[in-house]
């Protein structure tokens, strides 16, 4: 999948996990930009990503990405893109 394809799918996931259709994720977005993006909801997000993309993160990869851009790169690496 291309970067934009991953971002599009990730946008739907982020909006669903955080119950906020107004969220517009960009590469620069971080957890600090979303009020409810705490550690527990981060795990929910990552597990939802695993399920939706059909991938599996290593435990240390769960907390590694600091931006949405880094998350997209990680997802692409898992997809073998």
């Amino acid at each position: 999948m291309t970067h934009d394809e991953v971002l599009a799918k990730l946008t739907d996931i982020i909006r669903d996990v955080f119950d906020d259709e107004s969220l517009q994720p960009t590469d620069a977005m971080t957890a600090e930009d979303v009020t409810e993006w705490d550690s527990t909801n981060h795990v929910r997000l990552m597990v939802t990503i695993e399920s939706e993309f059909g991938i599996r993160f290593e435990t240390d990869e769960i907390t590694a990405p600091e931006t949405v851009g880094q998350l997209i790169a990680l997802i692409q690496s898992k997809l073998g893109a």
């Binding site: 119950d19 409810e36 705490d38 527990t40 795990v43 990552m46 597990v47 907390t63």
Partner: protein, 311 residues
């Protein structure tokens, strides 16, 4: 965050954020909206944590380090398993014993971390405040009080300082834990006599001793394979009309949590199945969320249930 009137919170939180500055957002969310009544109890809990911390090797900094260890190394992997599999990782007491209870250094860090969580995690703080401000004052005068598994002695401490409470007793199955509690109560300055006994609830013979007006089982049931059996066993030790104060977390993965309570209603159901009437119940969602969202997203909720034995 304004801790001007809460000196113990001021000291503890200031040091926590010096050592773990990235935790600021979480802490601010946690304290946002706490009423003055809850803040007053949180300050007392913080005072207890500071006294216990100052008395241990490594002091407050070590306690805070163990809290961070709890959040990042203990809870996070369990949360990951829970989200992936919709169940707790362990379901057998023997597995929790092998992985946790038999590992003394790990348990020490875990328990120290939980001590700080009683200050910082809003659901824990609200549950303790409910116990101190609503439950203890509701007890009949000179109530005979028992806590199962007193741990750091926090709930015994508040019971021992409550004017409604007559006798104070704590039971535990571990000699180490009993001595730990005894030591903690001494550090906390409890002067009222507290009876600490090595006693397995399931092996206690109800006709051999005093029954109680109040039994506290705080964060016990989720550690048991059969919580209803434990409640039934505890009920045998209640006087007619006596109450069990239960605090059990829903959807709260931890390495020694083996019984999944999935909602506040499930917590009430356990109490009723044991044969107690639900006299009161409260649900306190984890920091940063509402009860509605916590239910929908299966986030942690501290469920307080007061079960009453028929008169």
């Amino acid at each position: 965050m304004d801790f001007q009137n809460y000196p113990s919170l001021e000291r503890l939180i200031a040091r926590l954020l010096e050592l773990w500055p990235d935790h600021r957002d979480y802490v601010e969310k946690s304290f946002d909206g706490r009423t003055p009544d809850v803040m007053a109890i949180s300050d007392q809990v913080a005072s207890c944590a500071l006294k216990l911390g100052d008395a241990m090797e490594g002091g407050l900094d070590s306690l805070i380090g163990d809290y961070r260890f709890l959040c990042e190394k203990i809870v996070l992997p369990e949360e990951l398993h829970f989200r992936r599999n919709n169940r707790y990782r362990l379901s057998k007491f023997e597995d929790a014993m092998r992985e946790c209870y038999a590992n003394a250094p790990y348990m020490a860090r875990y328990m120290n971390g939980l001590l700080i969580s009683n200050v910082v995690w809003n659901n824990h703080a609200q549950a303790i405040s409910s116990y101190v401000q609503a439950y203890l004052p509701s007890l009949r005068p000179n109530a005979d009080f028992l806590e199962i598994g007193p741990g750091h002695g926090m709930f015994l401490y508040f019971a021992a300082t409550s004017p409604n409470v007559g006798t104070v007793t704590g039971w535990d199955v571990s000699p180490t834990s009993i001595e730990h509690t005894r030591h903690a109560l001494k550090i906390l300055g409890v002067t009222r006599p507290v009876t600490l006994a090595l006693q397995n609830l399931f092996e206690a013979k109800p006709d051999s001793g005093t029954r109680f007006d109040s039994i506290v089982m705080s964060e016990i049931l989720e550690h048991l394979e059969d919580p209803v059996a434990a409640l039934k066993a505890a009920m045998n030790w209640l006087k007619p009309g006596g109450e069990i104060w239960v605090n059990v977390p829903a959807n709260s993965p931890a390495p020694d949590h083996i019984f999944l309570v999935n909602s506040p209603e499930h917590a009430c159901e356990l109490v009723e199945t044991a044969g107690l009437g639900v006299a009161a119940s409260h649900a306190f969602p984890m920091t940063g969320t509402t009860l509605e969202k916590a239910r929908k997203r299966k986030l942690a909720i501290s469920c307080v249930v007061v079960g009453r034995k028929a008169a």
